[in-house]
Amino acid sequence: MKPETRTRKLHLNVNGKTLSVSVGTNETLLEVLREHLGLTGAKTGCNQGECGACTVLIDGTPVLSCLRLAVESENCKITTIEGLADEETGQPDPVQQGFIDHAGIQCGFCTPGMVLSAKALLDQNPDPDEDEIKESIQSNICRCTGYTQIVESIQAAGKTIREEKRD
């Protein structure tokens, strides 16, 4: 007996690079990122769209990559946590730096998804109020921090972004 699988060759635009990859038609974007492309920053926390640990950005919008098939992900820009820091200098994105400096990270398992949800918010609105920040991470569960220091991290990142824009 042999289990059935179908494969397809895809061209995915991930973190600014076009990558060719042969995937199972039933594979999720999360599986392809983690298992085919070695991008393990997106985490498998529930694999059913409830925890947000697998969040990536598609054309700047947060998407739960465990609920999206890889074959649906061509012709768009996929940003994972690995694509956020400056490629040349390694300088973290202001959102990442906010989490680093303001203790928004404990075990770190929710961090990639949390950072990307916050990134999407701050790209749209660098001066959100507390409710808008909470709304932006409502799909991302954190079991460690109790969220307060995450909210503070995002507030600090917004401040940095606003200052950078002013300069």
Binding site: H102, Q106, Q149
Partner: protein
Amino acid sequence: MTNNATSIVGTSPPIREALEKATGRARFVDDLPADYHVKVLGSPHPHALITRIDINQAAQLEGVSAILTHEDVGSNLLQFGCHRPTPTMDKQLRYVGDYVAAVAATSEAIAEQALNLIEVEYEMLPAVFDPEEALQDGAPLLYPEGNAYANATGTTLENRKERSVQAWGDIDKGFADADVIVEDSYDIKPQMHAALETHVCMAQWHEREVTIWNSTQVPWELRLLVSDYFKIAESSVVVLSPNVGGGFGGKYTGRYQFIVCLLAKKLKGKRVKMNFTREESLLHVRRPRGKIYTRIGARKDGTITALHLKGYFDIGAYGNFRGGSNSFHLEGGILSYKTDNAWFEAHDVHTNHSRADCMRAVQVPFLSFAIESTVEQLAEKLEMDPVAFRILNMPESGDMMPPTEYTENDDFFPTARFDLYPGRELMEKVLDKIGWKEKWNGFSQPSSVNGPIRRGIGMAYAMGYAGFYSDGSTKAEVVMNVDGSVTVYSGAQEIGQGINTGICMLAAESLGLPLKDVYLVTGDTRSGQYDVINARSSHQLATGGHILLMAIEKVKKQLREMAAPWLGIEPDSVVIRNKTVFVKDQPETAMEIRDLIGSLGSPISASASGPPGSLYPEVKPGYKAKQPMVMAAEVDVDMETGVVTPVRVVTGMFPGRMINKKVVRGQALGGAVQTLGMALWEHFQFDREQSRYLSKDFTDYRLPRARDIPEIETVLLEQVDEESLPHEGLPYGGRGVGEMTAWGAIAIANAVENAIGVRIRTSPLTAEIVLNAIEEESTK
């Protein structure tokens, strides 16, 4: 070792792993590639015997590499720390999800397909789910010798006890002396740890040794147990646990690690991984359900004369980190109040649920629920202010606890003097911050009423250990490299709580080095360190830090002795700072450590090992480092829907001295939110008719999310007794902070009582439960 003038201790540098975690580079076990993937066939029945099992069809599926059933495992028993000896896989299945068979295949999908091809026939057995029912005559037996397993002192069945008791004074006389007695009962439901990273384990056997990658709080315990199970040397077992995505008590050693090792042994040289689904992970382990009966008596003046507590704890089929919950209750609960007469009786009982383990302290979260609810009723009956009543009865620094001799002492806890115990100060600060005096109008008197919404205020207080709890052995090694930088090897285990950062900060402080010059090796048993308790019991900072500082002192002693002749002074006058040695008060008479150690030609190293705390010689014997926690909360209760909304929380604890302030605050805030989850939303549910768990995902088991969180403030009380140094072993006065703020769920229930005049004696306080209680009360 304490010292007020610190340059690194008390600051808040980012945690050591912050950059790699923020950039996605941090590798967790499931991020590592495997050759084979394991799926487990779970029992569909809560209690059954396997009468026939046929794996032939599954074995023929292409991609299937190995299958394990109880027939392969025989009667191999796992000897967990204090557990009942546990079968790895058994013909008798004891809970829904118990291990029928395990398949290793080239993909998870194939392994899952194979599970469907395994033919099993079951003989159904009657099941029992309630810990009290499980003790009754004629109850279904999970084990032939009975369902009770209380055992504090060993792991054999011969030592098994039906119950454990801790008592002092004369309980009957205590109640006879009481003017007022309150009796009550509670049924506190399980909370699930729900770390965001699910349980995961990978193993690879080489010729004689095995490497295990595991998300674990206890790598050294796992190494010991695997070596014992497979009869190989401890040094032949390598446990790697680089990053752990949360633990909270849910990631101790279970049976699954051994199943992965057994399968990997069949597939020598290959990496075999088992990654739990969210459902499997949630149902794997939880905090026990506690049915608790309280009886507390007091004199008219408010003095507690007798405290009686009896509990039945559902430890599931294979549960409890430690049979005999007694000591944990006692140390973390009963000693919260000072009374001459006490009786505590614990029954740890097996039922047909999956295993239960501690969660942010063994049973304190529900013990404090029962005590802090009963205490309020006692104060009300005495017409006393609940704050004054608590302060009157709480222990103070220097009190001997318990105040009278033990009459029964199943866990051999010594009577000992409390060191610093600023319970009163902490309570006053927390209550000031929330504005208690302005808002407390008396029992059942809401602070405000707005249509159907009533606002109430409530509080909770409890006592916990500061880290030297049971004095678990640990080991650390410090190498001062030729350039004066330092490599630390520590047995402490990082699970997200920040201990790696704490260890590095302590080392940097003690050696006068910048943080960047301290490198830490941890999460890897090849380092040759040890820690038997590991990331449990809020103990890593105090115990690991204490042993680390001992090792550092030895390194410094060597350095001073080497430097003294060069500097022309006595070793005691040598100061070590910033990779130089110099003469005290004459920093210009200095020598670089590079030159000093360079003359030796090899690094300087030292290690320290052993049980710190009360057993350790330089710590005054007979002292206990204990700490209070206090939480106060305001809630809105909707009388029409029963919905309880937390409005404001102030959580307070006593960290002694904060090594890293942001890390301590993070622990306080995280614990407070977990206790809100326990109090309000996290509802463990089992459908007995269908034999199915309903709370198996994050929709039906609702964890707190960002928008659920009210304004939460912290009171982090710092105080170090420089004079008497009862616990000079506490590193710079720092105490464990991992658990305490997670004990405040009862503050919510007390606030609900204040708002609506109805006392809820279970958790969580869902809208349904609260509304039913309101309706019941109105029909009385």
